[in-house]
Amino acid sequence: MSQPILETKNLSKAFGGLIAVDKVDLKIDTGRITAIIGPNGAGKTTLFNLIAGVYQQTSGEILFNGKSLKHFPWYARAIKPGSNKKIFKDKLQRHVSAHMRASLGIARTFQHIHLFGNMTVLENIMTGQHTRSKYGFFGAALRLPKARQEEELINLNAMKYLNMVGLGKYANQNALSLPLGQQKLLAIARALATEPKLILLDEPGAGLNALEKRELSDLIKRIREMGITAVLVEHDMPLVMGVAEWIIVLDSGKKIAEGTAAQVQKDRKVIAAYLGEEVDSAEG
């Protein structure tokens, strides 16, 4: 198997006293639909936010395509590696900011959908194409030919993704006028529009009816066929078991098990963890 697209080495995140993510080692293999499950407060969303760069880890490393998601700002580059100032230099190390990660190819959706309510459905997706187009203020202001071409391209791609999630006919509606299920699809389409290598889906199934869930799961499969690695955090077990090829189980910030659906279901710790608080997971 090729190198994992995403790898975390004893990744930890603490909010004040409480440790949300505790020394987690993950390997997300390229092109394999992976689900991260776990009872409430297991630190799934925090993990996502760490990977997406919303939070910055207290310790540990995140490797994307084998490259660390940290970098040295220009003023630190001067210092030669291995020089005696190295420790000092490490202090200057910065995390790659969220928007940079997006252009590197990490896309994500949100638990609360976070669409742009002040735009139409189409514009939402066109905005997703942001990192895939270049022209700036002047190009825009003066309507340079290059800008026009890019706009046309953006438009085409946007329609493509829109049709892919089957929202083509709503293109010019306000994004928030759609029902919840379609809003979720739209959010996924917007994430896809950034043409990512890795897409993080945060509870895509929450609040969908059976039909919509079925649509969702084959959308996820189609995403895989596009060569994009999908990782989802999900409470809905049937959905997870149906779609995920690899499942990672978190409990109170620690990874307690991973494997295929079958393996995980048999795992003692997992059962314990869930039986521990069915109630919560039921309402989650």
Partner: protein
């Protein structure tokens, strides 16, 4: 035919707008409003920048008059004291103001909402005090006069008639550029920031950078407007760039409907027309004009917070949709009116109760 006109409507609109604007300063038309229209044009330029910043990007600035003033003073000082070519002075002014805005904005745009408002307000006040205090350059509170006219080759803009066209060329140019920006990748990024910063970050938009860029752009607009203002009046004093001026600019932007570039003309137009034409009728009674001004501000903000412009727009749209039913609606409304009054009255009376029952 009619359909064709409908299809090409906005071209007709542009044409009509241009013809109208071109005709205004002629004696047989509205020459009496030439000077007012010059000020409106200048205000529109500042307002357009404010619309980009506030309406599209959702960032508040209560200090815009500072950049307006910087433009005016840079032009005035460079072209008078150091007798530079006015156009060159204008260019330098724009660049310098932009640089200043960048330097100031870089730290400030870490703040949001009300705190951003406070910070920008602070900047505005500081600049205003400096305009007053650095009298060896600015001429102090009474300002400096004798600023040269703008001129191209032998052609000098020495009458309102000429300056009118100069200002409106600048103004329309800025409006069209802004329009293009809004309807582009950049514009979408700005609206994305307004819509939801987290989501914007997640799709690779560098939020802080864009905020800063648009802030600088709006300050450059303001600076250009200021330069034109200086060369129009040929006198600058700190007073037109004080706190109240910043507020008046915001008011223009809001009345024009924040998220609409063309609303800027409307906003600047109505506000100036109101204060310089309509309210003058009321100054027989002491203070009545500012009383009315205050009332209008409140009423507009309370009942059409999305701006007068948008309100009129939606109302006419509503008319277009059901103008046939209008009479019947009127009848119904008249029937309902007493009940509604009673309802409102009850609400006011039993406010406590009413509030409790409210969700």
């Amino acid at each position: 035919m009619l359909a064709w006109i409908k299809k090409k409507w906005n071209y007709f609109a542009i044409a009509a707008l241009l013809i109208f604007l071109i005709l205004i300063p002629f004696d047989w038309f509205l020459s009496r409003y030439t000077s007012l229209m010059i000020i409106i044009g200048i205000s529109t330029m500042v307002t357009a920048g404010l619309c980009l910043l506030m309406g599209y990007t959702g960032q508040v600035s209560l200090g815009q008059a500072a950049f307006y003033g910087l433009g005016a003073y840079f032009s005035a000082v460079l072209s008078k004291t150091y007798s530079l070519n006015p156009w060159l002075a204008m260019l330098i002014a724009a660049l310098a103001t932009g640089a200043f805005a960048y330097a100031v904005g870089y730290p400030i745009f870490k703040l949001r909402g009300n705190y951003l408002a406070m910070a920008t307000l602070g900047i505005g006040l500081i600049m205003w005090i400096l305009f007053n205090q650095l009298s060896q350059y600015t001429g102090g509170p009474d300002g400096m006069s004798g600023i040269p006219y703008l001129s191209i080759g032998g052609f000098t803009f020495d009458t309102n008639f000429k300056r009118y066209y100069l200002v409106w060329c600048f103004c329309l140019a800025i409006l069209f550029l802004s329009q293009n920006i809004v309807r582009s990748r950049t514009g979408r990024a700005l609206r994305a920031i307004h819509g939801n910063e987290a989501a914007a970050e997640s799709i690779g938009i560098n939020v802080n950078q864009f905020k800063l860029k648009i802030f600088v752009l709006s300050s450059v607009y303001a600076s250009l407007a200021g330069s034109l203002f200086a060369h129009h009046l040929r006198h600058v004093s700190p007073q037109p760039f004080d706190f109240l001026a910043s507020i008046k600019l915001v008011v223009m932007a809001v009345i024009g409907g924040l998220a609409s570039i063309w609303g800027a003309i409307f906003g600047a137009g109505t506000t100036r027309f109101l204060s310089d034409e309509v309210l003058l009728g009321f100054n027989k009674y002491p203070q009545l004009d500012i009383i009315i001004y205050g009332l209008i501000l409140m009423l507009v903000m309370i009942f059409m917070p999305e701006g007068l412009f948008i309100a009129i727009k939606s109302f006419t749209f509503w008319l277009k949709v059901n103008w046939r039913e209008l009479p019947s609606i009127m009848k119904r409304k008249r029937k309902e009116l007493p009940n509604q009054m009673k309802h409102i009255f009850r609400q006011l009376l039993l406010m406590r109760l009413w509030r409790k029952t409210e969700p």
